[in-house]
Amino acid sequence: MTTTMFTLNAFYGLALAMNMFIIASGLNLIFGVLRVINFAHGMFYMFGAYIIFTVTKSWGAPFFVGVLASAAGLAVIALVIERLLLRHLYGKEHLMQLLFTFAVVLLMSDAAKMIWGTDQYSVGYPAGLGGAVNLGFVVLPQYQLFLCVVGPLIAIAMWLLVDKTRAGRIVRAATQDREMLAALGVNVPMVYAAVFTIGSALAGVGGALAAPRVALVPGMDATIINECFIIVIIGGLGHMWGSFVGALAFGFVVQFGTVWAPNWQDVLPYLLMLAVLIVRPWGLFGQPESGR
């Protein structure tokens, strides 16, 4: 493999990783605080992609207005789901929460079919990002370059928000001891609602940003949710930088897998995950569960 080919593949792997990180970080954030595995996250991603399609294609709005619309749309959907139903399930078993989110998947998949039908759609590159950048030895597409910038920006923003602000401290406290936090006068249900909303909005943003890269079809949610699971499991559930590293590993394995082991690139991430789990059952950055 020449340097050019290698750079190009590494770059595409990185772009894929960053797009996946944006989606997976939302799933991870929700799990970290609410301890709920949100199966509907893939569906949120799909809705994000469909919303940007409608907003840019049917209404003719600019791409980045579409991204904001996806984020806002998913935030509203998530907030309604959380306030209306999910909040009643926090005290119950994990199984019930898991199945609840699966019910959301089923209902939203039919809703998507009713709204958008079963046709395949595509979304164009945003104005000004459809070209390529020539680095001399390799030509890189601008949009993927843009993803490589946005991904780390979102990671840093999340890190600052969670680790450096008062709101972030409250969120971290909510992961540790919910009752104590409530006793200290913090409105914990609001924290949960906010986290679920923000995490879901990230899925919407991830879906909107993925829309120019992928085909918009029913079922696009099912693969993405599994890939997100792989990423957060590799990194360690609930660990933000873990999912960043997991996303990188995923992106490179998929991209180089396409080159070196075509046909098997879909299986490789699972093998990667197994390799990690055999060495570290809780993922690269995860901690053994406390309690039982």
């Binding site: 139903l85 119950k92 199945l99 559930l237």
Partner: protein
């Protein structure tokens, strides 16, 4: 030994089922065959979910392994049924043993995620190993022994296989082993204190569940004369979990009832509307929000109320 009333009730059910083909409805026979297969599938999962309290989100993997193995051995390699079916069960159990070894190191949600991930690996292999599994075209044209080609004969074959398997599961679940599993579910730490190797118990349950799931898969593949990658997909794992829950986790017969109700409901819904997912989603919401102990739990609740008054 089971209580005599249970034995009689089971015998009556089997006998009634055995008389069903006399009614002459092909549709009823086929539907019942499917229900029996799903009942076994759900029951096998309940060994793990109900008895040990470990939620597997990847049970379709063993169903698919059993189904594919049996179908491939029968069709591609021309093995006789008496060898192909046990081999399928064995392989499903073996894979469950290996997967379980890693999964039981984790608990609760981590356990569920890992079972899901392994199942998706199985799905990926079924999808990509085109030469052997047929990939996304599925594995069609499964060769059956001439004796089973008739749908009524296959119905009886399924009835006998499922009845024996359910009896075996009953014995397993009510043996000292099954009771130990319940102890592990109820209080892991305490079970450990009295000398139970809890991880090994959960591992054993995982393997048993996988093997019986494989048997259900083998029956399914032969019934449909084919296996498809959808059978290994995670939505299939979710569906069987819903069957278990709908019937009731903490009773032996719950999953059988859940499987029957859910499958029949699906068939009837599909006759009138393409929106089965919506119906299933609503059922699920009802289970999660108001019926956490399933239909059996609901019946028990009413019984309890009647007795008190």
């Amino acid at each position: 030994m089971p209580r005599r009333s249970y034995l009689i009730a089971s015998a009556v059910v089997v006998l009634l089922l055995a008389l069903l083909p006399l009614a002459g409805s092909r549709h009823a026979v086929d539907l019942t065959t499917e229900v029996m297969i799903y009942a076994l599938f759900a029951l096998s999962l309940n060994v793990l979910v109900g008895y040990t309290g470990n939620v597997s989100f990847g049970h379709a993997a063993y169903f698919a392994i059993g189904g594919y193995t049996c179908a491939i051995l029968l069709t591609t390699h021309g093995w006789p049924l008496v060898l192909a079916m046990p081999a399928a069960v064995l392989l499903a159990g073996l894979v469950a043993g290996v997967v379980g070894f890693f999964c039981v190191r984790l608990t609760q949600i981590y356990f569920a995620m890992l079972t899901l991930a392994f199942a998706m690996l199985v799905w990926g292999v079924a999808f990509k190993w085109k030469e052997v599994t047929g990939g996304d075209d599925g594995l069609t044209g499964v060769k059956l022994p001439a004796m089973l080609a008739n749908h009524v004969n296959y119905f009886y074959f399924t009835l006998v296989s499922v009845a024996i398997a359910i009896a075996a599961l009953w014995v397993i679940c009510h043996s000292a082993f099954g009771l130990t599993l319940v102890a592990v579910r109820e209080n892991n730490v305490r079970a450990g204190f009295i000398g139970v190797d809890t991880r090994r118990m959960r591992w054993a349950a995982f393997t048993v569940a996988g093997a019986f799931g494989g048997l259900a898969g083998a029956l399914f593949g032969m019934y449909h004369r084919g296996m498809y990658i959808e059978n290994a997909f995670w939505t299939e794992s979710a569906q069987v979990l819903i069957m278990v829950l709908l019937g009731g986790l903490y009773s032996f017969v719950g999953p059988i009832i859940g499987a029957a109700v859910l499958h029949l409901l699906q068939v009837f819904t599909n006759q009138y509307t393409p929106y089965w997912p919506t119906v299933l989603g609503l059922i699920l919401l009802v289970i999660v929000l108001v019926l956490p102990d399933g239909l059996v739990g609901l019946v028990n609740r009413f019984k309890g109320r009647g007795r008190r008054s």
